[in-house]
């Protein structure tokens, strides 16, 4: 017999939130004991593993193998800017780890996509942008928003889908954006942002405005037709845009080899007549130098650049995905290539940073994150009426969204 589908008063159990992959999810796994999300003992193991890994992620001073040490110089980057970058990285990660836990505790509905492990790919370029430069993020780009300086309070309210979210709760968690910071709302439909950011770059050019656009996408997303159409258009018009592919080797459960027959996605740029480079996306120095050059090219009228950043997502596609399609060895190796401790060690070696300063930064950020969480939790749930407006800018005579009732 069908369970009753009720509406109105009943609070929806948090465990029933759903979506994407384990879509997935709740609905499935959590309420019925089947499906993607692990249950019973497996669930406890899974949760313990998640917690261990989060603790690891927060330990930014931990040791790592010598082969992953980073070196070189960050061109045109003052010591103050280096520290500022570190703060943005730590802020992104601390917020992410905190939100993951809150999700597991059932503090908000829906789903959660973690970026832990990939922060450098977003934060380092976003931190170099002017406020009016345009950012087109995707579903795993917390760092783009934090990197560009959007307050954590707004981002937390977005995750909690409360009235203080920039979208007032209309839109899916983790799709971070903010109109004042020129970070567009990501689209769940893969690669829509890629073309939209291309259009924004086109706008800069047509309006003869200074400004660049940055678009973010995953390895899997490069298989989508819109990837091609966006890049091709940008190549033809030599648009001021930097395309970032975060190649984390997986698209949900799909390994790179089933997304592409290439090994390096940067080669795709050859087809569009602009440069493509592949770098270690977990090496802050390399990301800084490469993105800096690409931004200079864009600002100087030399057109687009495609940067493939090899990186790794530590957790599942969404929070309930155990990601057991990946090998433990692979995950282990990539947790050792964590961009944060590598950068911290380099800063310390170069005497830009010491333990005490780092501790100060971490404490301040922990506080900032807690304040953001408090803010989101205190923010009201949207009133049902709140979504019955703004379908159009000019609602035409006779338009009545409620006519269906």
């Amino acid at each position: 017999m069908a369970e009753k589908k009720t509406k109105g008063k009943k609070k929806t159990a948090t465990a029933e939130a759903v979506t994407e992959s384990a879509a997935e999810s709740q609905e499935t796994g959590r309420t019925t004991g089947e499906g993607a999300a692990p249950t019973g003992e497996a669930k406890e193991d899974f949760q313990a593993l998640q917690r261990r890994r989060e603790d690891l992620a927060l330990d930014v001073t931990r040791a790592f193998p010598d082969k992953y040490r980073i070196s070189g110089e960050m061109e045109g980057c003052s010591d103050a800017a280096k520290i500022d970058l570190l703060e943005r990285l730590v802020r992104t990660r601390t917020f992410d780890a905190r939100m993951r836990r809150l999700f597991r505790q059932g503090r908000f509905e829906g789903t959660y996509y973690s970026q832990i492990g990939q922060e450098a790919c977003d934060v380092v370029i976003a931190a170099q942008l002017e406020k009016t430069d345009f950012v087109g993020p995707s579903h795993r780009d917390l760092g783009a928003s934090v990197g560009k300086g959007i307050p954590l309070t707004a981002l937390a309210a977005q995750v909690y889908n409360r009235v203080d979210s920039p979208d007032g709760g209309r839109y899916t968690a983790c799709h971070y954006w903010h109109p004042e910071y020129w970070v567009m709302q990501p689209s769940t439909s893969i690669m829509m942002n890629w073309i939209a950011a291309t259009g924004a770059a086109f706008g800069f050019k047509m309006l003869k405005k200074k400004g660049v656009a940055v678009a973010f996408g995953g390895d899997g997303a490069t298989a989508h037709g819109d990837f091609h159409e966006g890049c091709n258009f940008a190549g033809v018009h030599r648009l001021p845009i930097v395309y970032i592919i975060q190649n984390n080797l997986w698209a949900e459960s799909l390994p790179l080899s089933l997304t592409t027959a290439l090994t390096d996605l940067a080669h795709r740029a050859d087809a569009y007549g602009f440069p493509g480079v592949t770098i270690d996306g977990n090496d802050v120095i390399s990301v800084w130098n490469t993105t800096r050059k690409a931004l200079q090219r864009a600002r100087g009228g030399d057109g687009p650049t495609l940067i493939e950043m090899k990186t790794y997502r530590w957790f599942g596609h969404s929070d309930i995905d155990p990601a057991d399609y990946r090998s433990e060895d692979e995950v282990e190796d990539w947790t050792e290539r964590d961009p944060l401790p590598r950068y911290v060690a380099w800063l310390m070696e170069n005497e830009v940073l010491d333990e005490e300063r780092l501790e100060g930064i971490r404490q301040a950020i922990r506080q900032e994150v807690e304040q953001a969480v408090e803010f989101a939790e205190a923010s009201a749930r949207p009133e049902p009426e709140a979504f019955l407006s703004e379908v159009f800018v000019h609602e035409y005579p006779g338009f009545d969204v409620r006519a269906g009732r």
Binding site: T6, K7, G8, T19, N161, R170, G220, H224, G404
Partner: protein, 330 residues
């Protein structure tokens, strides 16, 4: 996960899984392609176990390329195969729209070419999926001549109709309602059965008022009918099951009996398939009507994410009851 066992209490999801499994077993031309359907077993686990049983030659994990998923299906169908393409969420069918509406739908008309594909995937709201994971997409496709559109509401129909869809020689869009996946179940026969496309089903008999609906709204209608029954109102529920082909006769017969009609659907009102039903009733059963035809639908907005917003968005039992009262008092 192993071969599905036939018979016994079966969820809507498991019913679809059984139907797919049986068609894969019985017809070598049938194969499946989609995102994360193999190793992962599908975002909702509809295809769990298929890779092990049927191998990667027939259970194909594709890149994130909906145009290629639908387009490759069309091409393979032209070569005599019977592809079943999964959209991870039916919303993403927009990325394969050209292949579906311009190629698959028009092949037969343009050059006599049959295109026996099924494009299936989870549709509908109620699970906090937000604007890109909650669509009821039927109207895009009912409005495209050449496509058949199936929207089952029960486990029995989900199984019987997926089998019919795979056997059909035309392109079929098969919308599975994700809210129902694990929430509705029933005892299914152990024997094989197929539910033909184009036949509606009377979900509940009554003499006072007809509700024409499909998919998850069948259950909403049933709740409203139950509440109204307490007041002595006998509601008849027509579950269309397939929108194209439409079982016009079932609709008209019911309305002729009750004289009052509510058309209920989860998608927004404007341009929704409910308008088509209402027009058909007005054209062909006008003289039987004792009251205007009323549509109960979602508002004309995208599907919002936050639970209180979404709960308001989806038509509920109370909305249906209110409309029923209006008609009865008319």
């Amino acid at each position: 996960m192993s071969a599905p066992e036939r018979g016994g209490t079966t969820t809507y999801l498991e019913a679809i899984r059984q139907g797919l499994w049986e068609e894969m077993e019985s017809d070598e031309r049938v194969f499946m392609l989609g995102e994360d359907i193999g190793v992962y077993g599908g975002a909702f686990k509809v295809t769990d176990g298929f890779l092990d049983r049927f191998g990667e030659g027939r259970v194909i994990d594709t890149p994130i390329s909906e145009a290629a998923i639908v387009g490759a299906s069309v091409g393979a169908a032209m070569m005599g195969l019977r592809p079943v393409a999964e959209m991870q969420f039916i919303d993403f069918i927009s990325c394969g729209f050209d292949q579906l509406t311009n190629v698959a739908a028009k092949n037969r008309y343009r050059w006599g070419q049959a295109t026996p594909i099924v494009v299936r995937g989870p549709a509908g709201g109620g699970v906090h999926g937000g604007p890109f994971h909650s669509l009821q997409a039927e109207s895009y496709f009912t409005h495209t001549a050449g496509l058949k559109v199936v929207c089952p509401a029960t486990a029995y129909d989900a199984k019987g109709l997926i089998k019919a869809a795979i056997r059909d020689d035309d392109p079929v869009v098969f919308q599975e309602h994700k809210f129902l996946y694990r929430r509705v179940k029933e005892d299914l026969p152990a024997e094989e059965f197929v539910v033909p496309l184009g036949k509606a089903r009377i979900h509940r008999e009554g003499r006072d008022l007809t509700i024409v609906t499909w998919a998850a709204m069948v259950h909403t209608a049933a709740e409203a009918a139950e509440a109204l029954a307490a007041d002595g109102v006998a509601v008849e529920i027509v579950d269309l099951r397939t929108l194209v082909p439409l079982d016009e006769e079932a609709v008209l017969t019911s309305v002729a009996k009750t004289g009052r009609a509510i058309v209920l659907h989860e998608a927004p009102r404007t341009g929704g398939f409910g308008g088509e039903i209402a027009a058909t009733i007005a054209e062909k059963a006008f003289e039987y009507l004792d009251a205007p035809i009323v549509r109960v639908t979602a508002p004309d907005t995208p599907v919002p994410y936050s639970p209180p917003l979404e709960e308001y968005y989806l038509p509920g039992k109370d909305d249906v009851q209110l409309a029923a009262r209006k008609l009865l008092d008319y």
